[in-house]
């Protein structure tokens, strides 16, 4: 194992994480809900109540890059790691899986762990474990 220690990206990760935690807590204290992206988007897809709130939240996420660009002058670098068939398969799995698990990285990983929820801990260990395994399989065993 080679570990990459890059102080700038460690600091950015920590600062970004703090903003994410603040946003999630604001959702709970301000609107009384869990800031779970799969749940808020999934409810929109399902036609669940609170449509305006869901549309506004998703709209905020979609427009965040424009605000970031305005504040910092450029967007962070992005490099895709999957081709179109892989993106389609990955998207399907993420869509189905997060709905079955009632949450994703935000709902279980951030909000659930912040609440010390055993259920969210099991979910987080499961999706992280599966993520590590999938990357190992795709990028080492099958590569």
């Amino acid at each position: 194992m080679n570990i990459i220690w890059d102080p700038a990206s460690l600091l950015a990760a920590l600062a970004g994480g703090v903003l994410i935690g603040l946003a999630a807590a604001w959702m709970a204290l301000g609107l009384g809900r869990i800031a779970g992206i799969s749940g808020l988007l999934g409810g929109l897809v399902d036609g669940a109540p609170d449509r305006a709130m869901r549309v506004a939240f998703v709209g905020g996420l979609l427009l965040a890059p424009a605000l970031y660009l305005l504040l910092r002058g450029e967007l962070p670098a992005v490099r895709m790691m999957a081709d179109t068939p892989q993106l389609l398969l990955a998207g399907l799995l993420v869509g189905i899986g997060t709905r079955f698990a009632s949450g994703c990285t935000s709902g279980h990983g951030v909000c659930g762990l912040s609440r010390l929820s055993p259920r969210s801990l099991v979910a987080t260990l499961s999706f992280m474990g599966a993520g590590f395994a999938a990357v190992y399989l795709l990028r080492h065993l099958l590569a």
Binding site: A13, G16, G17, P65, L71, M80, M81, T98, V122, A134
Partner: protein
């Protein structure tokens, strides 16, 4: 009127959440795969995203929970509704494993997917459309499985 105020708050929360994702590196699939690739060049920085989020989340969610227990409303006036913490079911584990496999294939989870669409990264749109299709498939699939 109340609904407008709630939507305005939700919009601001979405913006803040998205800025956090962009700043942290979570919306760059290369970084996510780098974090999940412990056997390669491991980039542990994304562990700090969850660490930072939970560090501020712990005290603030405690307040939210205590308000919820005392039946006090949120700032918007809506009740604080927090889901149960128990109920470790096969569907929780199986669903999370499917999600994790998808996350490992593309290096994208739901929030970053939406942020990538907003960054006009078209592969992100392919991912999000497939994710929405998966969400649409969930109800009929759930009906068949629970029969």
């Amino acid at each position: 009127m109340k609904h407008h105020a709630q939507a305005a708050q939700a919009f601001a929360i979405g913006l803040l959440f998205g800025i956090g994702l962009l700043l942290s590196g979570m919306s760059n699939p290369q970084k996510v795969i780098g974090f999940l690739d412990v056997a390669g060049q491991w980039d542990p920085s994304l562990a700090l995203v969850m660490g930072g989020a939970i560090a501020v989340g712990l005290p603030l969610f405690r307040i939210a929970e205590s308000r919820s227990h005392r039946q006090l409303p949120s700032w918007s006036g809506a009740p604080i509704h927090l889901p149960g913490k128990t109920g470790i079911t096969p569907r929780l584990v199986l669903g999370s494993v499917l999600f994790g496999i998808g996350w490992g294939i593309a290096g994208i989870c739901p929030g970053p997917g939406l942020v990538l669409v907003g960054s006009l990264q078209w592969p992100g749109l392919v991912f999000v459309l497939a994710m929405v299709a998966g969400m649409l498939l969930f109800r009929p699939l759930d009906k068949v499985l629970s029969r």
